[in-house]
Symmetry: C2
Subunit: 373 residues, 2 copies
């Protein structure tokens, strides 16, 4: 217990070393959890040059003993403040060999109010806003994390299959969403990764459609579903688009023909991008390959988002494929691939899978669910 | 459409006037929504000295036209940044009569990274970290908001009643949670207000227990449930604790006697606090009345949280009753009252209702659900 977390903290301390930081205050709860194993909230992690201390309160005292017994912890009682605890931790030789004076903070998670309070309490220290130090570590998954995400994806798929079997024509987008989210729980998920998207016909042309209570499955030609289960702190994230009974019928043959031709283009973009994924491949180039397929088919104006994003403890995790992406694929990154074409007033098709970079290529972790299933 | 939001923006502009701010950048999505009617995400609101402009992107273009057609909007295309839009809005005489140089930002929502970017882009402007300006406005509800919260509470109660009728002895905490959350959706909720707490026996002694898959209802003496539905952007938040079939049985008569004696104390704390709630009453005094009941009964060490918090668009909204609370009750505030006693190894009892301050007292909005139901 705690070995993985301790390795992660060592990696962050290496970054601190490289950047001449003699302290780091981690406030993002996902990062605190990643670096300690602690699953609670409202707690900060102080990392000095020689050790780490979790700053929490009495609500979490028992939980800390269970989840991260190997880490130093300072527990705030009624009347104390977290910054008071921090002052103590900074002065404690178990964590810091000397008074820290150059301290890293998470620029994207630390609020201005907190920074002002820190500056008020530690006027002689310099606070350095850092960008994604822990997120970058998080983007490379270890074996346990890969296995957790695999299980989250399995739950994601099983729930979808139950939904497809039990859906009835009188259901609205909201009904389908509620059933799907209930099924993810029943299949072993702790929660959903994000609010599910269920969109009929023209609604599917909005990449972030919120399910509605009007319109029924039986009156629609197509459905787009973007969903994912969360389990043990890790998420899955998939999208499928399919023709309904009505959409498959003779009466809708024009709709069907268009659906199938667009589906083919999106699938080609999806497949060509996945073919390129391997350690060392440029994230921007991978985005471009998919984008070129869609552009050359004449739908460039109908695809307005990036090709994919990292997944892990959160659904939009560090990294991914986009026209502005920096960097290259590294082994054990897990990234979505999700090209789409959205035609206002008609509908939208997106195919999304979760892809793991392996030593010499990649594995589609969600390949158990066919793209047209 | 938009009249309520426009009144709210006027109130914020009054604050700006009082504080000599000639601009305000609102980034908290709940506040953006409160001030505009826009329900999407990733969008900022710029308020100049003469008008307001929503800064968003193409995903939300249609939604903005539907939800807040009366407000200025700047839509970011691919390649543009939100700060680029902000620069345009600040220079636009429709929003600002002159170049703004003292700009309010939300201290608790603006990140250090964003502030640094703002300072880089607008080096001559002063950014003033403000504390809860919009939250304070939000704490006083208008008629429509009260009606929305009433409906959210009704859904919260109906779902609980269905759960109580359908729960079976083989269910775990997780099973009960999943059914309850499903029922809130089925009764008309859009979502849950927060992850529901369902805790058996000793688990109920942890005020923030996460439901487990081990242990069954039939083997437990008591259950504590803390839950709430969200509807149309507003939340309910209730807690009930009750004896199970086993807890009511002869074999458990000692457990039952203790449960009933503690329940009585918590209920007295709950009732005495509610009796005091009216405009002008001190929020700290109201907390103290409940705390004194529990302390005098000898359980002061087993009640470690504040008496209640504001509810509205989020479940932990501005204001509330606690030993450090500032200020007084104002008409049309809605605050929870939720004293509790938590005995490690045994169980915990909390009774939580949602209370509306009326002109000469208060109304328990959740009175339709008996405290022992």
């Amino acid at each position: 217990m705690g070995l993985r977390e301790s390795l992660r903290r060592e990696k962050l301390m290496k970054v601190m070393d490289d950047e001449n930081l003699d302290g780091y205050l981690v406030v993002d709860p996902v990062n605190v959890s990643y670096l300690t194993g602690f699953q609670g909230e409202d707690s900060f992690l102080w990392i000095g040059d020689v050790g780490a201390c979790l700053l929490s309160d009495t609500r979490f005292e028992e939980q800390i003993k269970e989840e991260c017994p190997d880490i130093g912890a300072a527990i705030r009682c009624s009347g104390q403040t977290t910054l008071g605890l921090l002052r103590g931790a900074m002065a404690d030789s178990a964590f810091s060999s000397k008074a820290p004076n150059r301290i890293g903070i998470e620029g994207a998670s630390t609020t201005v109010a907190l920074l002002n309070a820190l500056r008020g309490m530690f006027p002689s220290a310099e606070f350095v806003a850092r960008n994604s130090d822990v997120e970058r570590l998080r983007s490379i998954k270890d074996e346990t994390e890969i296995s957790e995400i695999r299980q989250a994806i399995d739950i994601t798929i099983r729930a979808y299959r139950v939904l497809r079997k039990t859906a009835t024509n009188d259901m609205t987008e909201v009904d389908l969403r509620d059933e799907l989210e209930y099924r993810m729980r029943k299949e072993g998920g702790d929660d959903v990764s994000f609010p599910s998207i269920v969109a009929f016909d023209a609604r599917a042309a909005l990449p972030h459609a919120i399910p509605q209570r009007k319109g029924q499955l039986g009156d629609s030609n197509m459905v787009l579903i973007d969903w994912g289960a969360k389990r043990n702190g890790y998420v899955g994230d998939l999208t499928r688009a399919f023709l309904t009974e009505k959409g498959e019928s003779l009466a809708s043959r024009e709709y069907r023909a268009r659906f199938e031709s667009i589906f083919k283009i999106v699938l080609e973009a999806h497949d060509k991008a996945i073919e390129m994924i391997k350690p060392g491949a440029s994230c921007r180039e991978i985005d471009k390959v998919a984008r070129d397929v869609i552009r050359e088919a004449g739908y460039g104006d109908y695809y307005g988002h990036g090709l994919g994003h990292g997944i892990g403890r959160v659904v939009h995790d560090y990294g991914g494929f986009s026209p502005s992406a920096q960097g290259v694929v590294e082994e054990n990154m897990i990234i979505t691939v999700e090209p789409g074409i959205y035609l206002p007033g008609w509908g939208g098709i997106r195919i999304e899978d979760d892809v793991l970079a392996t030593p010499d290529g990649c594995e589609i972790m969600s390949s158990n669910l066919r793209v047209d299933e």
